[in-house]
């Protein structure tokens, strides 16, 4: 979240799209209810009427996988209806920047497309620059090559008729949402967007969010109380795990995983450290070397020296152009190229797409190590349905892990609040925390390498590994302090104008002090400051003071970065530092300093041409990107159909599907687009009563009692057509597999009219597996395809085609 949960109460209009907030964030939802009680409008756009819809002002049904069309129509409405916040757009976005004249967009493709590689050469996706290397701008926004005009032109094609025909949303409903939401373009109004897996689980996932970001920037909703783009992440500690690099392309704190062609530290740093010629751009990522070298120091300690590039050569490298997502992992495993797998706290035999392929892939492993609080379908795959244990060579280890309440540590919520929690009870039996499992395993590996040596011994032997308490167990405070960072030498620093010596071994108080010369170590730069120099664990703070009255609670827990509650908060003020909305004042430039939330940097507002900085300090140009060349698909989001959809032709262009998604081609990667055999759009989701694959909750009798078995929700219209009775047994099938389930016939799904014909949509939860309950059916993911977003490879769980039959 750019903002945080409590801040939702400050909003005037809340658009919930790509999320079922009430069902999956039941506690957070109370802040949405508070906003509603205070007069906010709450709108739910979703294929299905859910428990969230029931509490919103109204629900707008939309065909799965067409969000960009819906939002593209809103961009057109905002620009052509002059609903945008001009002051904000001109000063705080790249709307005025002039784009390379060779940049083009034609029939669904941007300039530079390579059909063979299914990717773009982005050399024309650039700005025109003056002699000093500063982008050329037209603040009147009239230049035909400026971003604003190109944006306007791009979305001029997203007419009401076209959008309605693609999405299945009536024109009346489109206009209703567009009008109400774009009213937040007024300086004293705030609109926020809540999304979750309903947006990310698509081949266009990242661009769904980009499209909304463009809307939020046009309306001046970023950086303000009650605004922002808010990913509702959840119970699985998604926020904390991504902060600490669960994604293959990341290192802690979203630093980049090195690739093989970047052979030296210098090459790596040059590639990843942006430069700006504009003196008013803070370009905060110019500090990248400080963060990265400090991270290497945390990894290798004294063994990391300037002479050996701080151990850069010991890091594993990605092959250039290769990807290592879960989709690729199981694809390679299915090919037989992977020997072993650690699956901790996860149940891919249920939760990964294309279950048949996933389970077959597990059979190709030599060994599999699972650590969980219960057995699950992954650890037990070798005796699952249709599997002959005698034919499976994989040796499986199931390690009993401690549950969350059985260990101390930090948990990060969606609002980036990192909250310390204490151990409530001791884990039962032989169960230990996953951290302790890692500690013991690495101890053993290090001992083996010390004794026997081997290839790549240096990174193992040089790994700093002093995280144990006197009993030999993981000391979570030691780990957390290393994540925060230490001084590795006595260093003189200047603080508030005074010189001061920071002693070796002391905690680094903030990432602004991290250095690239090896005198600091830090396991995750964004977490630097989670401890004070005096040793205070700020994550454990529980102060309830609310000085702004807007629910920032600055003394409750630690929030990255540097306890900033609302990111990009300098954009809540005009160029002189006066709040656009004095009623919701989170920050103000007063008497030569910022007062309120922790600002995005101490510099004066940008009207001060000498010392002032632009507000979006993490962006190289200092402003937010309406034109976003970092994306795989193009700088402006474009609607493409899902890999499997009901249409043979994209109504907007000749490009049916996202031209940059990777297509997998094993014998188990069958696809059936616009096929009579699989005529219904299908989507998948979770339910309140279960948690993800259900691997934890299905064992809980009270939860299972409420949602006992797999069901498919289908409209009354489709049920009539197929003569399916409510509560009867049915089978849902796709080109890849099938799922036996119970029909839940409901008014909450309605048929869509798409390109002039009726299209039905159905949906299933993915909370069930064969292991338990024995009669609750198996994985829904037998139906889903192995395909993902072109930027993140987040799988497409939300739009594909199925058939439904009686059984």
């Amino acid at each position: 979240m750019t903002n945080h949960y409590i801040d939702l109460k400050n909003s005037d209009v809340i658009l919930i799209m790509g999320s079922n907030a009430a069902e999956h964030h039941p506690l957070a939802f109370k802040w949405i209810m508070r906003a509603k009680d205070a007069g906010a409008r709450v709108i739910h756009v979703d294929p299905r009427y859910t428990r969230t819809s029931a509490r919103c002002d109204y629900h707008v049904p939309i065909r799965s996988g067409t969000d960009i069309a819906f939002l593209g129509g809103m961009i057109k409405y905002i620009i052509e209806g002059n609903k945008f916040f001009r002051d904000y757009v001109v000063n705080y976005t790249n709307a005025s920047f002039l784009v390379n004249p060779d940049f083009s967009f034609e029939d669904g493709l941007f300039s530079g497309y390579d059909a063979q590689k299914r990717s773009y050469n982005k050399e024309t996706w650039t700005f025109q620059k003056d002699g000093n290397g500063i982008p050329l701008k037209d603040p009147t926004l009239k230049h035909p090559q400026c971003v604003f005009q190109l944006l306007k032109q791009h979305y001029s094609r997203y007419t009401l008729d076209k959008v309605s025909s693609i999405t299945g949303v009536s024109k009346e409903n489109l206009l209703k949402v567009y009008e109400e939401y774009s009213a937040t373009g007024a300086p004293d109004k705030a609109g926020t967007e809540c999304y979750a897996l309903g947006w990310t689980h698509h081949t266009s996932g990242s661009q769904n969010i980009r499209t909304m970001s463009i809307i939020q920037l046009l309306l001046g909703n970023m950086g303000i109380a009650g605004g922002g783009i808010n990913a509702l992440r959840g119970e699985p500690n998604v926020q904390g795990s991504t902060d600490h690099c669960i994604l293959y392309g990341n290192l802690p704190g979203y630093l980049k995983m090195p690739t093989a062609s970047l052979a030296t530290l210098e090459q790596y740093l040059t590639k990843n450290t942006p430069t700006s010629s504009d003196p008013q751009s803070a370009n905060y990522y110019q500090n990248y070397p400080n963060f990265f070298v400090s991270w290497l120091k945390s990894l290798y300690g004294d063994a990391a020296t300037p002479e050996n590039g701080f151990g850069y050569s010991w890091l594993p490298k990605l092959e250039d152009g290769k990807h290592y997502s879960q989709l690729h992992l199981f694809d390679r495993m299915y090919e037989g190229a992977i020997k072993g797998l650690f699956a901790y706290g996860t149940d891919p035999a249920v939760s990964s797409p294309n279950t048949k392929k996933t389970r077959k892939a597990l059979e190709k492993l030599d060994w599999l190590v699972c650590a969980n609080i219960f057995d699950n379908e992954t650890a037990s795959f070798w005796f699952g349905p249709g599997v002959d244990p005698k034919q499976v060579k994989t040796e499986v280890f199931l390690l009993p892990a401690a549950a969350t309440m059985e260990k101390e540590g930090s948990q990060s919520n969606s609002g980036r609040w990192v909250q310390w929690k204490y151990k409530a009870v001791t884990p039962p039996g032989d169960a230990i925390s996953c951290g302790d499992i890692q500690i013991r395993m690495m101890d053993a590996i290090k001992a083996l390498y010390a004794k026997e040596g081997g290839p790549s011994a240096e990174p193992i032997l040089n790994l700093k590994w002093n995280y144990k308490d006197i009993d030999g167990n993981m000391d979570v405070l030691k780990v957390s302090k290393q994540i925060n960072g230490y001084w590795e030498a006595d260093v003189e620093v200047t603080e508030n104008g005074a010189k001061k010596i920071m002693n070796k071994g002391g905690l680094v108080p903030t990432f602004g002090m991290l250095r690239s010369d090896g005198t600091t170590s830090c396991g995750n730069w964004i977490m630097s400051g989670s401890f004070g120099a005096d040793g205070e664990n700020k994550m454990a703070r529980r102060g309830k003071e609310d000085p702004t009255g807007l629910g920032l609670y600055p003394n409750w827990s630690f929030v990255w970065p540097v306890n900033r509650r609302i990111i990009y908060n300098r954009a809540s003020c005009d160029i002189n530092g006066k709040p656009y909305n004095p009623k919701r004042n989170i920050l103000e430039w007063k008497d030569g300093k910022w007062v309120g939330d922790v600002p995005d940097g101490p510099w004066p507002p940008m009207a001060d041409k000498e010392k002032g900085k632009y507000p979006f300090i993490m962006k190289v140009d200092g402003v937010a990107s309406l034109f976003g060349p970092a994306m795989a698909e193009g700088p402006f989001p474009e609607h493409y159909e899902p890999l499997e959809g009901p249409l043979a032709k994209n109504p907007l262009s000749s490009q049916l599907i996202n031209p940059t998604i990777e297509l997998f081609s094993s014998d188990l990667d069958q696809v059936a687009n616009a096929s009579d055999k699989f005529p219904y759009v299908c989507t998948t989701y979770s339910c309140t009563e279960h948690w993800c694959s259900g691997a934890l909750t299905r064992w809980q009798a009270w939860l299972l009692e409420m949602q006992p078995e797999l069901y498919v929700e289908i409209s009354e219209e489709l049920a009539r057509e197929l003569e399916i009775a409510n509560g009867s047994k049915v089978k849902v099938s796709s080109a890849r597999g099938e799922a036996a389930c119970i029909a839940m016939v409901t008014k909450r799904f309605k048929p869509f009219t798409i390109e002039g014909r009726t299209v039905h949509q159905v949906g299933l939860p993915f909370n069930y597996g064969w292991l338990y309950p024995e009669d609750g059916s198996d994985s829904t993911n037998f139906l889903t395809p192995t395909v993902g977003d072109a930027n993140t490879f987040c799988p497409e769980y939300k739009a594909f085609m199925v058939n439904v039959t009686r059984r």
Partner: protein, 262 residues
């Protein structure tokens, strides 16, 4: 002893049907779960059971304007002031607590089921194994300890709140003002006022299993006035009552889900 009467206010306009209350109730009262089947609804178990004292009812409804609504109603004991169950209970197992709620002392329950037919809200449930009646007691033990009932504690949106009677009635009508008339207060106008009240978004007649004008059955009044004074004499009166009940109301309707199922 001066009574402090408590009321539990269930604001259906704030309920997200997360069913935290349904689980919290089972957890606090240590009630087991049943192995249910999906019967085409989120609602499960399908009805109140001896081991399910509170249940979220899910109901799909199209209103007069043609607008679709998904209604959620937390069902359970209403804790009547003029409580039919207490009036018919021959053993004193059902009684009014100092909070005005209807408590249950299972040790005294003789399993006569008189309360089942008397209750205008169809709440009490019989367990065939223990041969006793079960129902919500508004967490009497928690109230005694100065704590709110488990369901209210678990509610994330503030749809379930508990407080002193007058304050809660004021709160209920205050909420109506906030809803600009799009709501109905249910519970204060019959059976002497219930100690569970609803804010409903629709007319009461719309809701499944919610009586529009709940009242004590005539048989109960008859029973109370004619027979109850003699109950202490012996169990014969219980049989008498049952016979009378049979004459007036006919055979007891068996609940769809058999009592005692686990």
């Amino acid at each position: 002893m001066k009574k402090t009467e408590y009321i539990k206010l269930i604001d259906t306009t704030k309920c997200t049907a997360c069913r935290g209350c349904q689980v919290a109730c089972k957890q606090w009262n240590e009630m087991p779960a049943m192995r249910t089947r999906n019967f085409g609804s989120y609602q499960n178990p399908p009805d109140l059971q001896w081991n399910t004292w509170t249940l979220i009812r899910f109901q799909e409804h199209v209103d007069k304007n043609g607008d679709f609504k998904w209604l959620f109603r937390k069902d359970g004991c209403m804790h009547c002031t003029e409580a039919a169950c207490i009036k018919v209970c021959p053993s004193g197992a059902l009684y009014h607590t100092e909070y005005g709620t209807v408590g249950i002392n299972q040790k005294l329950c003789i399993g006569c089921k008189a309360c089942i037919s008397a209750c205008p809200f169809d709440i009490p449930r019989f367990n065939q194994q223990t041969e006793k009646i079960y129902k919500c007691d508004l967490c009497y033990d928690r109230l005694k300890d100065g704590q709110q009932p488990a369901c209210a504690l678990s509610c994330p949106t503030g749809a379930i709140t508990v407080g002193e009677r007058e304050a809660m009635i004021d709160k209920a009508y205050g909420r109506l003002d906030q809803l600009e008339g799009k709501g109905i207060v249910y519970g204060d106008k019959f059976v002497g006022g219930t100690h569970v009240m609803y804010i409903l978004s629709e007319d009461p007649a719309v809701y499944d299993k919610l009586p529009v004008k709940p009242r004590i059955p005539a048989s109960v009044i008859l029973w109370k006035n004619l027979f109850k004074p003699f109950t202490l004499i012996g169990m014969g009166a219980v049989a008498g009552m049952a016979a009378l009940h049979y004459l007036i109301k006919g055979p007891h309707e068996v609940h769809e889900n058999k009592e005692g199922d686990e």
